[in-house]
């Protein structure tokens, strides 16, 4: 028994609804540019990185930025992109937008599409998908921004 009025119940439901749409925090993870060894990510070869999600939070990929380009991307058959997924499905959470022919002077913010929330506490994979055709090329830094919501 709650003893709440109908209004109080509606208000609580409304506030909880708003709260569930507000991220507890956002995080931008930069790949490449780390200093001692790896100063870029090589899309020509493709790359991936395992990342641990924080426990108790589910994540939504908000965007991907490609910048600090030191080798022009090509896209003879299919262009490069950055997906976010897991070991079973490499784009389970986010399908990256195509990077195209990005050169040093043209950093990219390709628009991808949300597929699902990253489960809290899981290990997810950020994957730089190589372009295909010709000689795949493209080196840059990559920033992935994720909004984490309380589960």
């Amino acid at each position: 028994m709650s003893g709440r009025t109908q209004f109080e119940n509606e208000l609580l439901e409304s506030l909880n609804g708003i709260r569930s749409r507000m991220p507890a925090f956002t995080e931008t993870i930069v790949f490449g540019g780390a200093g001692t060894v790896n100063t870029f990510e090589d899309f020509g070869d493709g790359w991936d990185e395992n990342i641990k999600a924080p426990t108790g939070y589910k994540g939504k990929v908000m965007g991907v930025a490609i910048y600090g380009i030191t080798e022009t991307f090509n896209a003879t058959t299919t262009p490069a992109r950055v997906d976010v997924g897991n070991a079973a499905d490499s784009d389970a959470y986010y399908v990256g937008g195509t990077i195209g022919l990005a050169a040093a002077a043209t950093p990219a913010h390709p628009e991808g599409s949300f597929r699902d929330f990253i489960p809290g506490g899981s290990t997810f994979i950020v994957k730089g998908v190589a372009p295909t055709g010709g000689t795949p090329a493209g080196r840059s830094r990559c920033a992935v921004t994720i909004a984490w919501f309380e589960e």
């Binding site: 208000l11 925090f25 956002t26 780390a34 001692t36 990185e49 395992n50 641990k52 924080p54 984490w148």
Partner: protein
């Protein structure tokens, strides 16, 4: 639907407050530290903002280029002051290339201390008795008025 003026006003106020928060009363910054070598103690300073209190929301270890052989401990505190004021001896487990960890404690965990808005820079200190291990850290801090 039968709401009093007070109830309607309360809902308006709460909605406005939430919208205000969404529009930038608080924001997060993620500092990526250049790769750190666990064969020696290391320090990295990060700037803070005067007038904004802060909380450490996440400490992510990732992007290792060399596996480590022993666990490391991590402190975060005030540069040239109490250097473990906010995080004291958090354990970074032994790691392999391609692995990632979230290091506690962070905001929301019992015992965590919020950072006052003095603008004093933070210092992150890693201490290890190991001989190998190179990895990156991404520390996410929420600033709020």
């Amino acid at each position: 639907m039968g709401r009093s003026e007070f109830e309607r006003k309360l809902e308006d106020v709460l909605s406005a407050a939430v919208l205000g928060a969404q529009k930038g009363e608080s924001f997060c910054v993620t500092y990526k530290l250049a790769r750190k070598d666990h064969d020696a103690a290391w320090k990295a300073a990060v700037p803070m903002l005067i007038g904004y209190k802060a909380e450490i929301m996440s400490i992510l270890r990732f992007d290792a280029s060399e596996a480590s052989d022993v666990a490391e401990t991590l402190d975060i505190g005030v540069l040239d002051g109490d250097e473990d004021a906010y995080v004291d001896g958090a354990v970074v487990p032994i790691f392999a290339i391609g692995s990632s960890d979230r290091v506690a404690p962070i905001a929301g965990v019992a015992g965590y201390t919020a950072i006052p808005g003095t603008g004093a820079a933070l210092v992150v200190t890693g201490t290890s008795a190991g001989t190998v291990g190179i990895t990156s850290y991404a520390i996410t801090i929420r600033f709020y008025k």
